[in-house]
């Protein structure tokens, strides 16, 4: 799996990515489950770590702008 931009988050990111991939291939693609509950704790831990890095580098503000730009795509893609 790929690295995180914040090296201190690598370990928890790796565990989350592995968990997600297993859920995606074994459950989600087979239509078995819509929620990824089993990876939720790892995801929250990863986000807590990543959030600090994004804020300290000012990337959080750039992301807010990009999300605003992407709203059209969201409404087009989420509702088929």
């Amino acid at each position: 799996m790929s690295a995180s931009l914040a090296p201190e988050c690598n370990e928890v990111k790796e565990r989350y990515d592995t968990c997600f991939l297993k859920w995606y291939s074994e459950k989600y693609l087979r239509g078995a489950e819509k929620d990824n509950k089993e990876c939720a704790d790892l995801f929250n831990e990863y986000q807590k770590c990543l959030g600090v890095a994004l804020k300290s580098r000012g990337i959080d503000k750039l992301l807010d702008e990009a999300r605003e730009d992407n709203k059209d795509n969201d409404s087009r893609r989420n509702k088929f």
């Binding site: 799996m1 790929s2 690295a3 995180s4 931009l5 914040a6 988050c9 990111k13 989350y16 990515d17 997600f20 991939l21 995606y24 291939s25 989600y28 693609l29 239509g31 819509k34 929620d35 990824n36 995801f43 990863y46 986000q47 990543l50 994004l54 990337i59 750039l62 992301l63 702008e65 990009a66 999300r67 730009d69 992407n70 795509n73 969201d74 893609r77 989420n78 509702k79 088929f80």
Partner: protein, 191 residues
């Protein structure tokens, strides 16, 4: 504005491709040195449509040509891309849209990638990118910036294909090994 488009057919099922896509920039890919990090920012399944929406931040490190560096100034080493992706398991479609976060007041790069099944064993990858230089000044300079980025896209597209082929191959091998291991365990348990 310049438009770059590209299409590739992978001899793997859509399930395999859409799964391997999540590890496209991992260690199995030896052609993606320019992508140094991929972070997931959010992820949720729409309860009505079943569509999996993921936001990711992609960190790239690719040296820009000297003349662009001197023109735009600053440290061009690290750049960030925002990607939103949508997986629809019902129609078997993965759509990924991305845009540059860095130097976004100077140049706008919008990319869209779609993976769709061609058959049970083949998946089509469609990529298109729109590159628009926004900086004021001579049209000739804008054209040069757009051309340079378009060429970069072409080069990365070739590497992208080669790298992803390797990831797909490795994924299939590892998956087969795991399956065999499970079967062997099953035999042991039953005997």
């Amino acid at each position: 504005m310049k438009v770059f488009s590209n299409s590739v057919t992978y001899d793997y099922s859509w399930d395999e491709v859409s799964t391997a896509n999540w590890r496209k920039y991992g260690p199995w890919n030896n052609k993606s040195e320019h992508v140094i990090a991929v972070d997931t920012l959010s992820r949720r399944v729409d309860p009505d449509t079943g569509v999996l929406r993921t936001e990711r931040l992609i960190t790239c490190k690719q040296a820009a040509p000297e003349w662009i560096k001197s023109l735009l100034g600053g440290n061009m080493e690290e750049s960030f891309v925002y990607e939103a992706s949508y997986v629809d398991p019902r129609s078997k479609t993965v759509t990924m849209v991305s845009q540059n976060l860095t130097w976004s007041n100077l140049v706008r790069v919008q990319e869209e990638v779609v993976y769709r099944p061609l058959s049970d064993r083949q998946t089509q990858f469609l990529q298109s990118a729109r590159i628009t230089a926004l900086c004021g000044g001579w049209q000739r300079i804008k054209n040069s910036i757009e051309d340079t980025l378009c060429t970069r896209f072409k080069e990365n597209a070739v590497k992208g294909r080669e790298g992803f082929e390797r990831v797909l191959e490795m994924s299939r091998i590892v998956f087969a090994e795991e399956k065999q291991k499970l079967q062997q365990q099953g035999v042991v348990l039953m005997s």
